[in-house]
Amino acid sequence: MKQLSEILKEVAFGSLSSGEAEMVIGWQKGPFWWQSFPAFITDPGGTGSLIWDPFSVSNLSKYLLKEVPEKKIALFLKGCDALGFNQMLRDGRVDREKVLLFGIPCDGLVDPARVEAAGLSKGLLQVKKEQEELIFYYKKGQRKAPARDFYYAKCLSCRYPNPVIYDQMLGEAVPCQPVERFADVSKLETTPLEERFSYWSRHFSRCIRCFACRNVCPACSCRECIFDLAEPRWLGKANELSETQFYHITRAYHVAGRCVDCGECARICPVGIPLAELNRKFIKDINELYGEYDAGADLDKEAPLLTFKTDDPDVSSGS
């Protein structure tokens, strides 16, 4: 069977040379083993530089907000990316007619931090995946280890490894074996209030307000973001815990019911704030209170915060 990375180059070439798409968004490789990043190709001749490897983690669909084609943009979607794409579609922020979607079944991608933590990064030149194993290549020799040990946290709890939307699927569906995603939230829910407060204060104090978590998020697609407004200035720029709290509460609340749990925000936070726990608190509560809902997947269901039932549970008066 042909390697996925080869098929990906072929379809990219095909869609550009046939003139169906005017741009392909895929991934390219940087000089380091862990560097795979979004690439924007308009010349069919450039498609040979596209890759698919265990680090092709960036969600390419968010770029559809910025890149406005005359014809179509072709792009690749993993399972989590497809959920994000659907949410952007639902929010009316992308035009389905203007995209050509290649689905990539993906059973997990590698977190470089885990490779480092395992002491495997020194002198590492390349990492490849073969079936369930990773092969680490060094100047002299190679090593093998079970791939799943190195996956991102978001991949371990992934429930939609096979894209739920695509025009063409580029591989065989992969099995799905997610770990329970609400475990951390449930644990926090049962810790004492004050402990929880200091837990979050500690994390929030580290936030540098770089807005990467917002900028990467497929559910954060407002044309004008409240955090950028100078007038009224809801969010100041001081290094003040209450402002950071405001940021985090508001960010998570604005994506409640729309967060597809793609895990991108938590993945790219440079200071390691467990943002997934915030998003998942909302998801968990929505599921419990208003019925199971998977943003980005349950397209036939009404979005939980855009609807109601007359017999919804009441807001307790807090006692």
Partner: protein, 145 residues
């Protein structure tokens, strides 16, 4: 001043966002019927409970509120038919979220009070004030500057 003395004399500041059509009128009725409710409560009139954005609530806490109340028409009675049904979902989630972050759930409350419930308005505000007085000053989302 010793701390306990300070606490004894602590008077909470409570911001109440009241919908124009029911709860604000309920407050009016409480006033005109000469019912008393604590002066700790500062009422802000809004068109509908669903007009209240989380920004308002958080800003109130940042700038010194010890408690925030959103009050609207009883479910089913919203002047705009369904505003409070949406608000009910949103605020229940917000309340649970704030609690998840370590905030006492009593500090953010939602009540349904109709225009004819002047007595209920007074009772809710009195009870809320007592609860929050017992909790003491809120520091958790407060801007320290």
């Amino acid at each position: 001043m010793p701390v306990n003395l300070k606490l004894q004399s602590f008077e909470p500041l409570i911001i109440a966002f009241c919908c124009n059509w029911c709860s604000y009128a309920g407050g009016d009725l409480a006033g005109t019927s000469r019912m008393t409710y604590p002066a700790n409560v500062r009422v802000i009139r809004v068109p509908c409970s669903s007009r209240v954005s989380s920004n308002f609530i958080l800003r109130a806490f940042q700038r010194g509120a010890d408690g925030v109340v959103v009050a609207g028409c009883h479910p089913g009675d919203c002047h705009y038919t369904s505003g409070n049904y949406f608000a009910r979902r949103r605020f229940l989630l917000l309340q649970r979220f704030l609690e998840f972050l370590g905030m006492e759930p009593e500090r953010f409350q939602v009540h349904w009070i109709s225009a004819s419930e002047g007595n209920r308005f007074a009772a809710v505000m009195t009870e809320t004030t007592d609860k929050i007085r017992a909790l003491g000053p809120n520091r958790k989302l407060r801007d320290t500057r």
